[in-house]
């Protein structure tokens, strides 16, 4: 899973980054890299058994949800 996501991430960076570097759109490159890195970090978190952000949010909010809903 981690290896696959790293490969996909590099592939996407190559595809999108090539044109952006040619056009010297550095801000765009930073945002693209940030999104790809976030995705890879999430898959690393999962493989290491850490909770993902959504699971952390769920553990905070679910008690309130169970209080309101059946």
């Amino acid at each position: 899973m981690v290896v696959t996501s790293i490969i996909i991430g590099i592939f996407l960076l190559f595809i999108e980054g090539r044109n952006l570097i040619k056009q010297k759109e550095w801000k765009e490159i930073v945002v693209v890299i940030s999104i790809i890195c976030l995705a890879i970090v999430l898959s690393v978190f999962q493989s290491l058994g850490f909770k993902t952000p959504l699971q952390i949010i769920e553990s905070w909010i679910t008690p309130l949800g169970k209080f309101i809903m059946k």
Binding site: M1, S5, I8, G9, L12, I15, E16, N19, L20, E25, K27, E28, V31, V32, I35, I36, L38, A39, I40, L42, S43, F45, Q46, T52, L54, Q55, I57, E58, I61, T62, L64, G65, K66, I68, M69, K70
Partner: protein, 365 residues
């Protein structure tokens, strides 16, 4: 302006309709029936009414800030820094919804047709199409919605006419068994699913008549409520309350009940094709909105390079955030409504009152 596409009011309506129905037709009817029981139809009407009231605020803000979506007018109202913090919540919410739709659709395809195929393969195949659609821009998505939207609406009308003869109205009795509180909670719950129509605030600046924002949302939510209400009522009248609360995707189960003269049967596949197509379109609109919102917050020249990384991120969120389908349903049932209510109502009310208090208006006015 980052997005130069223009959409007509009809496209606007159908895009919102696709978003509502694809998000609510998967697991929501079962969750709603679990919550409000035989009174779910009342909850659907209550949710529709509350959402129309919210639409007035979205429509008003769209007219007060012409040419700006809510990411942009967050920054106009609250300033550069606080506005960015509030504004980024909307794209993040769209990303979450995209991940939930992707996961729901993939599970549906896997459980109904491809039980041997790994979940990730189905999800990533869908992601490719979502990325392709989103990269084409909003005008292309709008034109596809113009084709799929009426087909989806027609499918529910045909489903009603085919299923009605085998339904028993007595299965809807007794009504209000647990009183109004369960109906009100059900209305709140379904409101949060209709509420994904806050997307209208992204579409209003692109509409050729910005004053039609409220009308578009009103029509779309009314059609969406009719869709969800029909599925909920028919499923209770066909399967009975005790059985239906254990069915994961009631719309699909209903279509499997169609049998006209032992000749026209197994209609589930057609409904699935329409539902999957609509789901992919809805996901691509979420990806488009996330990319556009992030590009506006980061002051980028274009949003298109963000599309593919965004689809990748939402797919990873869909895969990593839930270990199994039960966790996904639990999240949709207990966690999503709270998050959605705080974004769809809380943030919009905050922006609305701050705009009034600070007397902020759009730059075009």
């Amino acid at each position: 302006m980052l997005e130069k596409g223009i959409i007509s009011t009809r496209q606007f309506v159908l895009m919102l309709f696709i978003i509502i129905t694809s998000f609510t037709s998967l697991h929501v009817p079962a969750i709603l029936i679990q919550q409000a029981g035989r009174d779910s139809w009342l909850a659907v009407i209550g949710g529709w009414f509350l959402d129309v009231l919210l639409a007035i605020i979205y429509g008003y803000l769209g007219v007060r800030f012409p040419g700006e979506n809510f990411v942009q007018y967050s920054m106009t109202i609250l300033g550069k820094y606080v506005g960015r913090i509030v504004g980024i919540m909307f794209p993040i919410f769209f990303l979450l919804v995209c991940a939930l739709i992707q996961r729901g659709l993939s599970h549906l395809i896997r459980s109904a047709f491809l039980p041997e195929t790994p979940f990730e393969v189905i999800l990533l195949s869908g992601a490719l199409i979502i990325g392709f659609a989103a990269r084409k821009g909003i005008e292309v998505i709008a034109r596809v919605c113009e084709v799929i939207g009426p087909v989806y609406l027609l499918s529910i009308i045909l489903l009603i006419s085919f299923i009605l003869p085998i339904s028993e109205i007595n299965k809807m009795k007794p009504q209000l068994e647990e009183g109004f509180p369960t109906v009100l909670v059900g209305a709140f719950m379904i409101l949060t699913f209709y509420g994904i129509c806050i997307m209208m605030a992204m579409f209003i600046p692109l509409n050729n008549k910005i004053e039609n924002g409220f009308l578009a949302k009103f029509i779309a939510v009314s059609m969406g409520a009719f869709f969800v209400g029909s599925v909920v009522v028919l499923s209770i009248m066909v399967f009975g309350y005790d059985e239906v609360k254990n069915i994961a995707v009631v719309g699909y189960s209903l279509t499997r009940m169609v049998n006209i003269g032992n000749f026209l049967e197994r209609m589930g596949i057609i409904w699935m094709m329409i539902a999957v197509g609509a789901g992919i379109l809805a996901s691509s609109m979420m990806v488009w909105a996330f990319s556009l919102g992030i590009a506006q917050i980061s002051n980028l020249k274009t949003y298109k390079p963000l599309i593919c990384p965004t689809v990748f991120l939402s797919s990873i969120i869909a895969i990593t955030s839930f270990d199994n389908h039960a966790e996904h349903i639990r999240f949709t049932h207990y966690t999503y409504p709270i998050i959605a209510a705080s974004v769809e109502s809380g943030l919009i009310f905050l922006l609305f009152f701050m705009a009034l208090i600070l007397k902020k208006r759009g730059k075009a006015l």
